[in-house]
């Protein structure tokens, strides 16, 4: 080894601190581009000579396909390919957890919007029109639309094993427990949509090796790669995915949409093929949040101690399984909420119907259950004559307590503290005199100048499992390269973990800066040339990919320090990296990192796994199913126009424990966004489905909150470290979505006195008309 003259024997003061490390909120690498509208989303992809793909979808929720005639479509000038199920090169079946969904329908369609045929043409409109010229002869069948009936085995079986995708039961303590006071309630959750702004889109480019390169907006590159390769009949290495710009995800991009379709068309035509759904098609192109019917019975002592919780939870998974098994697991294992209760009996079914397929969406399973159990907690408090917050705090679960699954909570669970904090925040002032109509229900629509407006306050708290559960091998991979570029030590971090807007790109940079003391950190495009990053879901990426990045940093750091020790002729022990220098135990700079590195390139690839989890047993649902629990509490203040049934949320405050805020601004962003999505479910967001058909597939009638619907928030972030997690952090993204909805509905109940057993709450539910 060449020994270069080392300057490191001189002790120098460390003057340069690296900024933008963990605990700070540096600017996102993609932030400026996004604000300026210059960021390239997947729908902006372009390739010379590319063709456009289009999808023909079933207009029926349930029908037999008798014949498909593509003759007229093929004849259209500008059409390069028309493909049906007969043209799927590999296995015509895929799915996230169960492979039960055809790439293109064969002899039956099970939901409105199911893909039947594909077209590639030289213009997007030509492709659309050609798709319309494909003649499909259907024999329309009566759709299965009732989730409870499906759970009971009524109606035709839509799949070989019947219509129950998963049944899970949880039993703790006495099933027949009795109590002084009990309340029974039925609740319903409508079908919410992720409503991401960037529609499904991507570009498939055929490669010279017979494979395909796919640029796509997704949440999980490797699970896409596996499914696409399987459907194309290609080995994994011939299907290479690169993440294109993602315009929001929220769970809706965990399942495949156009991935296989674009690749099929590209391989058939030998030309790059781009597919972009429009907004209407997008409503049919991804899974939604499971609608739920929930029956709860809660019992408590006269003093206000919960005695038992019994529940039957039905979740409508629609035509294909998608994430239904995991949604069932969450709803069942978290169905008693963040409360201490000794006797629990929860039965939960996830079923197939001919309704739109439902799968992952922020907080899944936990969102539906929380609307039920929090509604019950309010009613119990009322029956007991107790304050709803006091009642919750009295029964709040805490570190050391045991969940209904028997899992002991072994990290902070400050449920009572979160409730106390939101309760003690200042309330907004009462309205006085004439106010700006934008501050009243109805807003600029000028429906009230104060008439009929009643204020209400409500609370909600929720629990969510963070990371993948039930024994899933949940890991991420990070590749880190450290070298000197232009005289400065520069790190390049490479993972396959999808950046969907949440800010993982920034978090990865921050971790590298902190661990290596290097300011310049480049984020490599996310692709499948590095190992699996796992899904961007379950609030898990900062935890798992963050963990992998940290681990890779440590490996690189150890190598660099070994080099430094060798060159400086000092023992490695006590050396560390800070501010672009190698420093000793006293914090004195011994050498510039750049000089130590010289022309060496130090690279390491590491996998990180969180601690193992286990499946719960079939009999009583007992087992350590989850890695970590996340908690958030909300207080909602609403003004309700009780005559018109219009709601304005005046204030929505949140307290959440995040363990460690790696990027405080991003943490706030998640809490704001999650709360807004919960607000949407509370008062406006629903895909209305009648007879298996979607009635409102547009942003004209599927409403999401605007800035005039979302109030200012006070957010109280607690940082109580989880000793099992990297940096003590706790997943952030989902908990705020869970508690926001029940808090808002509780506030509307307080204002109106209405029972309100269904979300979203519609004006008719309030006015009774």
């Amino acid at each position: 080894m060449t020994q270069r003259t080392s300057p490191g024997h001189r002790v120098r003061e460390l003057t340069t601190a690296v900024s933008g490390g963990i605990g700070e909120s540096p600017v996102r690498p993609d932030g400026t581009l996004k604000v300026r509208g210059e960021f390239a989303y997947s729908s902006d992809l372009w390739h010379e000579d590319m063709l456009w793909g289009a999808t023909l979808r079933s207009p029926h929720p349930y029908a037999r396909i008798l014949a498909v005639d593509i003759t007229e479509a093929v004849r259209m000038p500008g059409v390069y390919a028309v493909m049906t199920h007969e043209d799927v090169p590999g296995a015509n079946i895929y799915g996230l957890e169960h492979a039960d969904q055809p790439v293109l329908a064969v002899d039956v369609v099970r939901y409105q919007g199911e893909p039947v045929a594909l077209v590639a043409a030289d213009h997007p409109e030509t492709a659309q029109r050609a798709a319309k010229r494909i003649r499909v002869e259907y024999e329309v069948l009566d759709p299965v639309t009732d989730m409870v009936a499906a759970a009971k085995g009524e109606g035709p079986a839509l799949h070989p094993d019947g219509n129950v995708v998963r049944y899970l039961r949880i039993r703790k303590g006495e099933v027949e427990a009795t109590a002084d006071v009990m309340v029974v309630g039925e609740y319903e959750v409508g079908m919410q949509d992720q409503a991401f702004l960037g529609p499904e889109s991507g570009l498939a480019v055929p490669a010279e090796d017979g494979g395909v390169d796919l640029y796509v907006a997704t949440q999980w590159l490797h699970v896409d790669q596996r499914q696409v390769a399987h459907a194309l009949g290609l080995p994994l290495e011939k299907v290479r995915l690169t993440l294109a710009g993602v315009g929001g995800a929220f769970g809706g991009r965990e399942d495949l949409s156009m991935q296989v379709h674009a690749c099929m068309l590209a391989l058939r035509t030998g030309r790059p093929v781009k597919m972009v759904y429009n907004r209407e098609e997008s409503f049919f192109g991804h899974v939604h949040r499971h609608p739920a019917k929930i029956y709860y019975e809660h019992g408590a002592t006269r003093d206000g101690d919960l005695v038992y919780v019994r529940a039957k939870i039905y979740l409508d998974g629609g035509a294909y399984a998608s994430s239904t098994p995991a949604v069932v697991a969450n709803a069942a294992t978290l169905g008693a909420g963040p409360y201490k209760v000794d006797n629990v009996a929860i039965d939960c079914w996830g079923v197939y119907t001919n309704n739109p397929p439902c799968g992952a969406m922020r907080g899944f399973g936990a969102v539906q259950a929380a609307f039920g159990y929090e509604s019950q907690m309010d009613r119990l408090a009322e029956r007991l004559g107790m304050d709803p917050v006091e009642f919750r705090m009295r029964n709040a679960i805490a570190e050391g307590d045991t969940m209904p699954t028997g899992q002991r909570i072994d990290s902070p669970a400050p449920v009572a503290e979160l409730l106390r904090r939101v309760r003690d925040l200042p309330l907004p002032p009462e309205r006085r005199g004439r106010v700006d109509i934008r501050e009243l229900p109805g807003g600029v629509s000028n429906t009230t100048h104060g008439e009929g407006v009643v204020r209400g306050v409500g609370y909600g708290v929720g629990i969510k499992n963070i990371c993948f559960s039930e024994g899933f091998d949940d890991y991420s991979t990070a590749r880190l390269r450290l070298q000197v570029i232009g005289g400065e030590p520069t790190a390049m971090i490479h993972t396959a973990a999808a950046e969907v807007g949440q800010g993982l790109v920034t978090v990865k940079q921050q971790i590298v800066r902190t661990e290596l003391g290097v300011e310049r950190v480049t984020v490599h495009p996310m692709d499948t040339s590095v190992g699996n990053g796992g899904s961007t879901s379950a609030s898990r990426q900062t935890y798992v990919t963050g963990g992998a990045v940290r681990k890779a940093c440590h490996t690189v750091r150890d190598r660099v320090l070994r080099m430094a020790a060798h060159r400086l002729g000092v023992p490695q022990e006590g050396l560390s990296l800070a501010g672009g220098k190698v420093v000793d135990a006293r914090g004195a700079a011994l050498a510039d990192l750049a000089e130590v590195l010289g022309e060496e390139v130090v690279e390491a690839t590491e996998e990180y796994r969180h601690r193992p989890t286990y499946r719960v047993d079939a009999e009583r649902g007992q087992g350590d199913a989850h890695v970590q629990y996340g908690f958030a509490a909300h207080r909602a203040v609403v003004d309700v126009d009780v005559e018109l049934g219009l709601v304005r949320v005046v204030q929505l405050d949140c307290a959440q424990d995040v363990g460690r805020a790696i990027n405080p601004q991003a943490v706030l962003g998640q809490i704001h966004g999650g709360s807004a999505q919960g607000l949407g479910l509370a008062v406006m967001e629903e895909i209305q489905v009648v007879g298996g058909k979607v009635r409102n597939p547009s942003f004209t009638d599927y409403l999401i909150p605007t800035i005039l619907d979302m109030p200012p928030m006070t957010v109280d972030v607690l940082e109580l470290a989880d000793p099992h997690a990297p940096y003590g952090l706790r997943g952030v993204g989902e908990p705020p979505t869970i508690s926001s909805t029940p808090a808002i509905v509780a506030a509307i109940r307080a204002a109106t006195g209405r029972a309100l057993h269904r979300v979203p709450v519609r004006p008719e539910h309030i006015t009774g008309t």
Binding site: N278, S445, D701, P763, T769
Partner: protein
Amino acid sequence: MDFLRPGSWAEALEAKAALPDAVPIAGGTDVMVEINFDHRRPPALLDLNRVAELAEWSERDGRVRLGAGVPYARIIAELGDRLPGLAMASRTVGSPQIRNRGTVGGNLGAASPAGDSHPVLLATDADVEVASTRGVRMVPAVEFYRGVKRNALEPDELVAAVHLDVARGPQQFAKVGTRNAMVIAVCAFGLALHPDRGRVGTGIGSAAPTPRRATEAEEFLAAELADTGLWESRGPLAESVRRRFGELVARAASPIDDVRATAAYRRHALSVLARRTLGWVWDQYREGGWSACA
């Protein structure tokens, strides 16, 4: 699809006469949605954005001639004092971007029962100026709406302008939607008092196949105000009158159950909007310097 870009109004009318199936487009906030979703594929688009006079308004003898191409944002900014009801309705249209592009002419061309400007045009007895190479005619707003998304235009005609009186009494517009901004109407109501004529004008939106007046409610209230001398005395309006007015407005609607609301809710909400807006215009009338017919 052809894209025609007439440089003058005369050219626009000639183009429309030559190709009656051409769809006029100004802001494009309705037309482009239909085209983008392939719900409609006309043989030609007739772009009116280069016809400068369409984007002008003028006032003469107490009447405003509002060019069909004046966007909502300008109505709000420039005409809030003269046409308060229309400005209020304009404020409820879409987002700021949509208000920068969308026009009353477009609302009339589309003739959707949910168009936000219609209730005010009805309540204020507006006239629609339509033109063709054959000439110009004035169509009262109340005769303009002919069915769901159908209007009184002949195939060769274009909407040139809308004529409205400068407000000589208070006006209000209110719209129910399940979002506090940027929302399509579940139902809407426009109300204008015309004290100089002793008339009450109303317009109902999104609660019948077409925008329509609540004639019985108008007559009831006008008679009530005249009979009790309230136009002159400007005394308080009895709660019973406001309620009755609300009931009559609700009765005038023919709403349906749809994805946005039930028919029953629409009727109920209209009665509330009518009652409240009547309270507001009457308060304004009592406080303001409006002159009554003597």
